[in-house]
Each structure stands twice: as structure tokens, then as C-alpha cells.
Amino acid sequence: MQQINHIIQTQGSEIVQAIGQHIAISLVSLLIAALIAIPLAILLMNHRRAANVALQITSILQTIPSLALLGILIPLVGIGTVPSIIALVIYAVMPIFQNTYSGLTTIDPNLEEAAEAFGLSRQKKLVRVELPLALPMIISGIRIALVMIIGTATLAALIGAGGLGTYILLGIETNNNALLIIGAVLSAALALLFGAAIDWLGKLSFRRVGIVLGVVVVLIGGVAGYRHLVQPQATITVAGKLGSEPEILINMYKDLIEQDHPNIKVTTKPNFGATTFLFKALQSGSIDIYPEFTGTVLESLVKHESSASRNPQVTYQRAQKALKAQYQMAYLKPMKYQNGYAIAITQAFATKYHLKKISDLQRVAGKVHAGFDPDFYQQSAGYPGLSKAYGFKFGSVKTMEPSIRYQAIHHGKINLVDGYTTDPEVQEYHLVVLKDDQKFFPPYQGAPLMTEKLLTEHPELRTTLNKLAGRVSTTDMRKMNYLVTVKHHKAATVAREYLQKQGLLKTGN
């Protein structure tokens, strides 16, 4: 609870912005869905067979899993707000269409006959009789659609459209329940609030509903238009994966680029999504640069044959060559820090037995009570490989969820955990990371990834971004992560302070 309060106090404006994005995406989607579904239902109300076909199609569309739908849309329309809205519209069309259609076709046949016999024109009949009588059904369809949209819109964060989903994904990614709760509770609250608003709308007369909808359209249009006019035309977009570390890095890129090249405007898109989304976004030109790990490139992004190397330089060179050959992408030089698997122990345990390297554990293996992430416990790149490479077996090993693992070692239930080298918890709980002296863990070094085309247009970027090459130690990165994740400092501030301290950025900038 305290943590939630703290986050709300320090990141209030970002949360409000996320709520705004969430509402905007949801309402725009709803509006488009209604503008498709209602006229379609009106068009098909006297053509039962065609209406059934339309209903079948919309039902089938609704069964497509949302993640799959987003995946299908990315190659077609890229990432960001547009595919999110398209996906949400596709989901929302069904309930609105179905309710409007059944509302219009279940009108008392006597009233239909009366309207017919009085010689009302098709339009008059629709506006004066059919739509008003179907209105309660239409409104309930819109309500169903909106509640669904607000829930599903949390997935928009996956492809960089922002919204409250950002907090949910960040919460999952970083084991931060407070963020998760903020995202989930706020989106649930939004759904309830808008559900109530629609119920209120349903009690108004037909004409007033029209007026309210009109005002909403004008407001959304106005805000969107204003933003469009006010936003400066950015020439370079730097994006980052979920989490504090990429956000710190992209702010460093931004500061460096804007210092060296005042004519270039840089926009940052933090928490833009998972690896494949970012990579596809880079391919499609939706973003220009993002920091990627050498290990991840070889594991997930490129095809390569040779077995994994333990040598960071070899890993980087292979990744860089493969990216150039297979995707015409430029992969600039990596920073110093490694964000791979690590073995961490308590300060007390380290001091007592003078433990500094992983090989030191051979002496005390029987006294080790380890808590491992289930993946790490099973993968050959994890504990099984580790124990083989170093030739030891720990006294006891338990598997536990990542966040519980750190809690357990903090409370003395265990004395050794696996983790990532730059996890802020290492600093938070004063843990000691043992040196991988046999170089068992594959290297993961961060470096800026971009298309060769961008580098051809702006060759000066190479020099600027290479200023970070070989800089930023694991300890530096861990400290910065700690400031952002645990202390809730702004990533931009943390990044700027680091660059200034390193003399890479002029102070007073």
C-alpha cells in the first residue's frame, strides 16, 4: 500500500497520462466500431440472410485471440495506436452489431405496420420509430463493447500504444505488484465508470444521446487535432523494451543525440513492448533506434549456426554480422555492463566464508540453500549446466517465483539466488554477486540497434552513440535501476545525471 502511494505521488502525471491514453484509445475504438456496426445493422435489417452472414463473420473475428490479432496487424499497419485501435474495433463490432440488429428486427410488427400504413418514409420510420425503440438494445450493446474494449486495451501497451496496460506489463515484467495493482484497478475503475456513464446515456431521449455523442466526437477530434498541431515533427524515434533499464538507456541516447545535433529532434517511446514487437517496429520504420542485447540477438532474432560463445566480443561480432547480413541493420558498439544470469548471495554468507567467485562455492556447496527461478532450475544454461561446469551440488535447492526469491533471501530463508546482473534488488537487499570466473553464463551486452538506412542518412549518429561504448558498468546500471524502480526517480533525470557525471553531457543543459 505504501509502495502504491509512493508510486502515485512520484509518477502521478505519468499515470494520468496513461489514463488519458487509455480513455482516448477506448473511446476512439468504440466510436469507430459504433459507426461501422450501427449503419451496417440498419443496412441489413431487412436482409436476414446477409445479416446472418455478417453476424457469423463478426463472431469469428471475436474468437481470434487478441495477441494473435495484434501479431497479424503489425506487418500490415506497423505498431502503436493504429493497430491497437483496429484490433479493438474488430472486437467491439460484434456486440454492437448484434444488439442493434436484434433491436431493429424485434420491433412490435403492429408498430411497423402502423408506420408503413401511415406512409412514413424509410428514413422517417427509422429515425422516429425504429431507432428510438431499438435504442435500449443498442445502448446495451455499446455498453458491452466498451467494457470489453477497456479491458482489452490494456494489451495495447504490448505494441507501444501506451495506456494503463503499460503498468500491468511493467508490473509483471519487474515483479512489482504495486504497479500491477495500479494498472488493473484503474482499468477496472474506468470500465465501471464508463459503464455507468452509458447507463445514464441510455436514460436520455434519443435526441440528447445524439447531442452527447456529438460533443464526445468533437472533443476527441479537437484534442487529437491539437496534439497533432502542437507535437513537433520528430525525425528520430528511440524506443525501449519494458522496464527501467531500457528507459534509462533511451534517455541517454536522446540527450547525447540532441546535444551533438541540435537540428535533430528525438522522441522517446519507453515501455514500448516486448522484443519481437520492437524488432518488427524497427523493420517497419515505426521506430528508428532501440537498445538490444547481444545475447538476445543471437538467441531470438537472427538465424545462426555456431554454438553460443562465452566471449562477449565474439558474441557481439556474430550478432552484428548476422543483423547486417540478414536484416540490413546496424548494431553499434555495446556498453560495458552485462545483463545476464548471475548468482547472488547474502553479505553475511560471503563474509563468513570469503566467497567472491562462483568457484569459491565448491568449498561450501553443502551449506548453500538456493532459491531458483523455475526456468533457471531446469534450463541447461541454468543450474544443471552451472553445477556441471563448476562441479558442485548445493545442499538444498528450492524453486520459487522470481519476486519471492528475493524476499526469501532477504528474510534469511535461503542464502543464494539466481538473478540478472543489473537487478535493483541486488542493491536493495545488499546482496553480493559472485564472479562467473569460468565464464559459464552467455554474455548479454546492450548496444544501440538501428537500420543501416538511418545510419546512411545520419552517419554522425555512430560517433555520438559510440560515446557510450564500453561505458556504464554493471554496478552503475544496477544503481540507476535501483533509483528508478525502487526510489521512483524519473528515468530521464537518472540518465542525465549519469551522463553529466561521466562528462558526456555538458552540465546546465
Binding site: N110, E116, A117, F118, K124
Partner: protein, 310 residues
């Protein structure tokens, strides 16, 4: 004047109207009467083309309906439905003024017309004009239904069993009302009913239909005094004076047992006579064509109980 010339309506193989020839003079109060399935409502709905004839011609004031503009024709023809069918989303004055609205009358004129009509059927405009239909009783709603059909001062008003859903008192009041309106407005009223007394009460001219065929057409007096055939006679008698139930009806229903005892009553005697006789003795013997039959009090009570349930 409305003329039906050799009008036939077929649904698949079913003949709903067979070769109908009919003339309804201008200003007439014309009643179509017949049992259900007789084709009376079909005939009515062909006048405003809710139903199109399969063959034949219908002329209104000499103009063939096929050649008239459908909307324009309907906008100038009143229509009262059996189920009243006021639009539940519109208030009373909006309901009344729906046709004027469609014709593009200015708002002020529409409201004035609605209020004038409300006053004409004894509904206080100040009290009723802005109420919703659901706030009115069935009788009040059908008054609105009737004046809605009069709003554009049409030449022809069609009424499809408008009072069949009402209680006897409201029905009597509304019959008086339409008679008065017809007298005042001099429009052609075409009125459908299955109720012969209602037809006799309202119609200047009555057409009796059965199974899609016109049986007789004439004034009420004509039909009562000179029924064209047994059906007309039967239909009229059946409805106007319910035939007295006799002992024969009871025997036909399977009650009574054969006996050799001497009979005291005839099968054509009324149930009242039977009841009186049964007060004196436990069983009564009745002369029938099939020989004497003995009838007991339980027979009478059972028969009445079953009959009540019909």
C-alpha cells in the same frame, strides 16, 4: 369512391380473396363483417396496399391504386389498427401528428391540429397532449388511435377491428364516437369487424364475407330481413340472439341413458325446463328420435360444467 374489380388474392395455393367486386360510395360508413379467415382484413389492407392483390384492380376515385404514389396515397389515408399501436416512444400529440409531420407541416400547426382532435374526442388537450401512451387506459389509447387516423383530414379512413380488444363499455362509447365523427366529418369509413351487432349498429352498408367470398352486401335492414343464404342467416342469428340451449344439446354431448320408462319432456325443451323438472324428481325421461332417454341431476351439472369450460 372505392371500387374492387375482379380482385383475387392468392397465397401459394390458398385463395384468400376470390374474384371480389365491390363498390364503396364516397362518404359511406362501410362495414366488412365475417368470421376469422373470411378475408375481410385482407380486403381492407388492399385498399392502402399493405397487401397487394394477385390480380384485378382497385380504384379510388377512379384512379387505379397501382398507378398512384404509394407514400402520397398512404399519407392521405387514415388507418386504425386492432392493437391500437401507438408509438410508445412518442407522446400523444406526436403520435397524432405523425402523418402531418411526415407531410412537413410546421410544428405549430401540427400541435394545434393534435390538440383540436383531442378536444374532439373529449380528451382534455392540456392534460393529455404531452403524456406518453403507456399512461392512458385502453379506451383512451384507442381514442388517440382514431384521431391519429384523422389528422391529415383524409378522404378515407380504414379501421381494422379497432374495438375488439376493448371492454364492452369502452366499445359502446367508441362506437358512438366513430358514428359521431363520421357524421361530422363526412369521410369514407371502411370498418372491419367480426361482431355482427357492431356491424349492424355502425354500418350504412354491410358486406358479409366468408372464405374469401362476398356473401351479401346491403343495409342492415336488408340483411336482417332478407338474408341471401343460410350462412348469412346463421351468422346473423348466431351472433345477435344466442340460440337457447335445449335438452338435445345435452344428449348430443353424450349424457343420458336409454330407458323404457314413460317420457315427461321433449328433447326440444330448454335446459331451464329440465332443471325445473329435476327439482321435483331425481331423474327425468325425455322423448328423443332415438327413443326415450333418462337424464339425472349429475348429468345436467356435468354438462353445464363442461360447457362453462369451453
Amino acid at each position: 369512391m372505392i371500387e374492387f374489380k375482379q380482385v383475387t388474392k392468392r397465397y401459394d395455393d390458398q385463395v384468400a380473396i376470390a374474384d371480389l367486386n365491390l363498390t364503396i360510395p364516397t362518404g359511406d360508413f362501410f362495414v366488412l363483417v365475417g368470421p376469422s379467415g373470411s378475408g375481410k382484413t385482407t380486403t381492407l389492407k388492399m385498399i392502402n396496399r399493405l397487401i397487394e392483390p394477385t390480380s384485378g384492380d382497385i380504384l379510388v376515385d377512379g384512379k387505379n391504386l397501382r398507378d398512384t404514389d404509394l407514400r402520397e396515397m398512404r399519407l392521405n389515408m387514415g388507418y386504425v389498427l386492432q392493437n391500437i399501436a401507438l408509438f410508445p416512444n412518442l407522446n400523444i400529440q406526436e403520435n397524432i401528428a405523425i402523418q402531418p409531420e411526415s407531410l412537413g407541416w410546421p410544428r405549430k400547426q401540427r400541435i394545434d391540429r393534435a390538440r383540436e382532435l383531442l378536444a374532439q374526442v373529449d380528451l382534455d388537450p392540456d392534460q393529455y397532449a404531452t403524456r406518453m401512451p403507456s399512461e392512458l387506459s385502453g379506451g383512451e389509447q384507442q381514442r388517440v388511435g382514431i384521431v391519429r387516423a384523422l389528422a391529415t383530414k383524409p378522404n378515407v379512413v380504414l379501421m381494422d377491428e379497432p374495438f375488439s380488444a376493448l371492454d364492452p363499455i369502452s366499445r359502446k362509447q367508441l362506437q358512438d364516437l366513430v358514428l359521431r365523427l363520421h357524421h361530422e366529418l363526412q369521410m369514407t369509413f371502411v370498418f372491419v369487424t367480426h361482431d355482427m351487432p357492431e356491424a349492424l349498429r355502425l354500418g350504412q352498408e354491410i358486406a358479409i364475407m366468408r372464405n374469401g367470398h362476398l356473401q351479401q352486401i346491403g343495409t342492415g335492414t336488408d340483411i336482417v330481413q332478407h338474408p341471401a343464404n343460410d350462412f348469412v342467416r346463421g351468422f346473423f342469428q348466431n351472433q345477435s340472439a344466442p340460440r337457447a340451449v335445449t335438452i338435445q344439446n345435452l344428449l348430443n354431448a353424450g349424457y343420458g341413458t336409454p330407458t323404457q320408462a314413460p317420457a315427461t319432456l321433449m328433447a326440444t325443451d330448454s335446459l331451464g325446463t329440465l332443471a325445473q323438472a329435476l327439482r321435483q324428481q331425481a331423474a327425468v325421461v325425455v322423448t328423443t328420435a332415438q327413443g326415450p332417454r333418462q337424464v339425472t341431476t349429475p348429468d345436467l351439472l356435468d354438462y353445464l360444467a363442461v360447457k362453462e369450460g369451453d
